[in-house]
Symmetry: C2
Subunit: 338 residues, 2 copies
């Protein structure tokens, strides 16, 4: 059996109250008692039970993390950043893969609640805002990362998706592209919507019309990118560039182009979003809009911990600046053969 404070107290000839105090460094305890108790704890390899401690109203030092899918490199990198900082601050993180399904989300939240996590970091899209509101009512610290719920007052950490879209468009425009297609995720996803909005606005501002038939709404996987790009490129009039709303879709585009023997970037430029490991691994490597995933994850944890500690009541929305990372998948539009 594991040792308890009773064992330690008995061995040290003191009360459990005293042991508790030395564990927590509270109250006034003589140096002698303190060191004696420490020695015995050491000898017994004593680890205080977080469970019992939590029951008395203290924290569980556990955070819930909702992501659509950790096997998606973007969320894997976010998860890593969050776990790192959580660990740094003394919190464990429980990982939950939601597949963006509201019913799974509700089940996970219910489980996390039963386990009395101290807060939940949400990186998954939620359709029903009621789910979030119910959480907020319970006064449970919540932070949204890489997702938005504009109608709900909740702490939020995002990249400026709109600006990212603008950056992408500006880059393509600068290279002389005018016939541009967009591969976007479901428009239920706020980030995807904003990226597209920024992109289109920048085109419009530049006086370049966007051809609606070149807008493809896909799921978020490589295969979706591939199929939709195949579709796009098999028509008579082709775009000279494609903006993919994330790296996974861009990988699919790359594959499609390769199948059709279309050379990237000389025949077709591709720009993507996220800058996960994938963007640096493809051939050609992907020009992409980078999100500072590590900083975002770290901030999300810092914020939630501040709320947990009660140091903070005001909710903020922190927007990081995205950055254009130029690699090999984009090039000047050459009109020679057109």
């Amino acid at each position: 059996m594991k040792a308890t404070i009773y064992d330690i107290a008995k061995e040290a000839g003191v009360s459990i109250a005293t042991v508790s105090k030395v564990i927590n460094g509270k109250g006034r305890i003589s140096a002698d008692t303190r060191s004696a108790v420490f020695a015995i704890m050491e000898r017994f390899d004593f680890q205080p039970s977080v469970i019992a401690s939590a029951l008395t109203g203290k924290k569980t030092f556990t955070l819930g993390l909702l992501v659509p899918d950790v096997s998606n490199p973007f969320f894997a990198e976010i998860a890593r950043a969050i776990e790192d900082q959580g660990h740094q601050l003394g919190y464990s993180v429980v990982m939950c893969n939601t597949d963006n399904k509201d019913e799974k989300i509700e089940r996970y939240i219910s489980l996390l609640l039963q386990k009395s996590v101290d807060g939940i970091i949400i990186a998954t899209g939620i359709e029903k805002k009621e789910i979030l509101e119910q959480l907020l009512v319970k006064n449970l610290p919540i932070v949204l990362i890489a997702r938005e719920m504009p109608l709900v007052a909740v702490e939020t950490v995002v990249v400026d998706d709109y600006a990212g879209g603008c950056l992408a468009a500006a880059h393509l425009l600068e290279l002389g592209h005018k016939e541009i297609a967009i591969l976007a995720e479901s428009q239920k996803v706020s980030s995807s919507r904003e990226r597209m909005r920024g992109f289109r606005q920048t085109m419009e501002d530049a006086g370049v019309a966007f051809n609606e038939k070149w807008l493809k709404i896909c799921d978020y996987k490589v295969e979706d990118g591939r199929i939709n790009t195949l579709d796009l490129l098999s028509e008579d009039s082709r775009p000279t560039a494609i903006f993919c709303c994330n790296d996974l879709l861009a990988v699919g585009s790359l594959q499609a182009a390769k199948e059709l023997q279309i050379n990237i970037p000389s025949d077709l430029s591709i720009i993507s979003f996220d800058n996960t490991i994938l963007a640096s691994v493809t051939n050609p490597t992907l020009t992409t809009i980078a999100q500072p995933m590590e900083q975002m994850g770290k901030l999300a944890v810092d914020l939630i911990v501040e709320h947990i500690k009660g140091d903070k009541k005001a909710k903020q929305r922190t927007v990081f600046r995205p950055e254009l990372v130029i690699r090999e998948s984009t090039a000047l539009h050459t009109t020679i053969l057109q």
Copy 2:
């Protein structure tokens, strides 16, 4: 405040014992009482506290998962499989990134113990076998996945790394390669060691000598693969094929070859190990030895849950068969120009 069984009991006009029984479906409760209590729980949005329940000696329904780094696609995919099956069986998983550092491992284990997890799944290399032994003594269910500790009696789920190495060598040999280099991870990692052993044995059996100067021991990241390959390819006599002990290293090799304008696979074949998403995303795509990550993760969870439930005492070592997945990075060795 959250509702407790006391609230429910009071409202229902019964004792907390009765409420507890209906929650757990234990003892004999009249249908009337049962449904009345259920109705009230519903109305109060009551969620029993796992914390309090755990304190009475029941399970926490939480598993610890130790991985070197979730942002490594291999472990991300393993983590996803484990979390899925865990959730399926009612367990949450606490993710821990160890960076393969024994000191971080010890700290994580200590934390998981304080939180009374029901078991720990270990996918990270551990140098000091004492760490594991101490855990086993505590009678805490442990499963090793994708790692081995031959000297410790612990439930283990692995792929046959040796056979995988053989498969890789056989493929290269069949393609006519004889000048083969190996990029391996630290030899402290059992899987890497075994892969190499199988590979070399197969070469030897085929009467092809392995040139020791073509063995590069690296870390596990893309950059390590790149540097070491650059090194390898900048000497006067070059190998015609490289066996990379994981996909990340292979990506690095691909990059190095590209920098040196060496064409894959016509000038140099590359074969790797794992078959993560990366293998299908590079250009050329990677011929690789696939591990059934999903099945392995699922089995690891099934096994640990059996131990938790006490249905099982014997420890087994389950070895999955790896599979050769031929893609574009390997080709016949052409002697024309040699």
